[in-house]
Structure formats: structure tokens, C-alpha cells
Amino acid sequence: METNLNIILAIVIGVLALVFAIIAIYHKKLSVAIIASGAVSLMASILFLLLSAPDVAMTEAAIGSGLSVIIFFYALSKIRKQHD
């Protein structure tokens, strides 16, 4: 029973990650795309946790959905200010 629930949860999270990835590619606003890419790595980290790889999940959550989003936003604000 428990493994079945885990599999269903894993499938739902995988589909959500796919949706976020498509948003990240096709959305016209860059800021939305950055947030969507952060959400992709958040979903990936939950998937890693479900597949019992907590080490990889921690790395993905800290770097993928935390730091890289901050760095992208920093670069984006820099570009916008230089264009003005």
C-alpha cells in the first residue's frame, strides 16, 4: 500500500516537473521562467527524496532551487538596469 502511494506521488511530481519545465521554456516573461526553473529543481529534489537519495536531494534543493535562482535574478536585474 505504502509503495503504491509513493509511486503515485512520484508520478504526480514528475508530471508537475514537466509542466514547470515547459513553462520555463515557453513563457515570455523572463522572471516567470526563472521561478519555473527553480520549481523544476524543487520537484526534482522531492523526487530524489522519494527515491531515498537524501544527499542528492539536499544538494538539488540548496543549489538548484535556492542559489541558482538568486544568481539568475541578480543577472536579470543587472541587464535591465543597464538597458534603461
Partner: protein, 232 residues
Amino acid sequence: MIKKLTFLALIAGFGYMLWTGLAKYNAAESLNRISSYYAQDGLEEVGAANLVTAVVVTYRGLDTLGEVSILFLTASILGFFLVSGKGPKIPLQDSSEILKTASKLLEPIILLFGIYVFINGHLTPGGGFQGGAILASALILAYLANPKEGINKSIFRITESISGVVFILIGILGIVLAGGFLDNRIIPVGSIGDLISAGIIPIIYIFVGMKVGAELTSIVTNLKHSPKNNVE
């Protein structure tokens, strides 16, 4: 039209390739030779309660060194290109009092958590990379909360260089005193599960954590200071 058709054909071919791979796939019933060696003898040989750490730091320590040096290369290339760029001076706005106070409250907690993660890397899930990333997020929070304060960038450069050199020196010490490069049995392994155990692994992880934290922070500080921001 032709472009789209070729695109569709490419996607179909790619899907077919993936499908054939998936159809032949069946999960391995038993571990292969290397994995079973790690699973059976790794615990006694390395003495780390978290077997992933044993594989990452000792058996595949050279790969970890490669990852750390790739990160170093990225940080230094970013610094090189961003510092030489020219641009208009951007006026900075001071952040609010609430954010400053809250960041002062939060930074020590986050720093402590990062240090916990990389010191306990051989016992619980975690390790140098994760702990370093958490350290870097605390430092970045400090910068974002106080945008007008200057940054002493040389601290990060010095920390990073010293930790990298110590990492490689420990590896060479492994050749001299024990079985090979990055062998962890330089100092006695100790009993499995203690904080001071698993030989040299905790010390290596402390330096990896400091190095990763310094590198990730220096990427953001370079972005912040790039176009003559602090050069009046």
C-alpha cells in the same frame, strides 16, 4: 514547412530510441561487483556511517576534487569577465529596518545549520557541497539585506585558496602515509557512528564546505560589484 517536418522526424526518431531502450530495461536483481564491494566492505574499510560519503570522499575522491575545481574555474572566469566590464553606476536603495533585523536574527542560525551539515557529513545525509551551499546562502542574505555596505572580497579568495591547497595536501598525505591518494586512514578510523571517526573524512569535508561556500558567495559578490559599482 520542411523545417518543421524534419523537426518532427527528429523528435520521432529520438522517441523511438528512448522507447527501445525502455522496453529492454529490466531492473537489476542484484548489485554489480563494485557496488556489492562498497556495500559489504565499505563500512569496515572506511568507517563512515553514511556510505554515500565513503564513496564520494574516499573511493571516488578524485571525482570530488574534479567537481570542486570545476566550481573554482567557473567562479574565477565569472570574476574575470565581470570585473572588467564597464557600465553605468547603479543607485542602490537601502533596505528596510525589518529586513535588516530579521537577517541579523537568521544569519547565525543558517550558518550554524550549514556547519552542522558538513561536520556531520559522515554520519547523516549531507556533506561539503550541501553545507557550503547553505553557508553561501546565509552570506548572500547578509549582502541582500545590507546593499550599501562594502564587501571584503579578499577574505573569500584567501579562504578558497587555502582550503583547496589543504584538500590536495591531505590527498598527497594519503599517498605517503596510507594506501593511496585521498585514503582516509591517515589517522585512526575510530568506532563507527562517533563524531570523530571515519579517519580524515570530516576534516576533508570541513575544507570542501568552506571552499564551496566561498566560491558560491564570490560569484554573487562579483555580480554585485561588477560595473564599477564601488569605484567612485
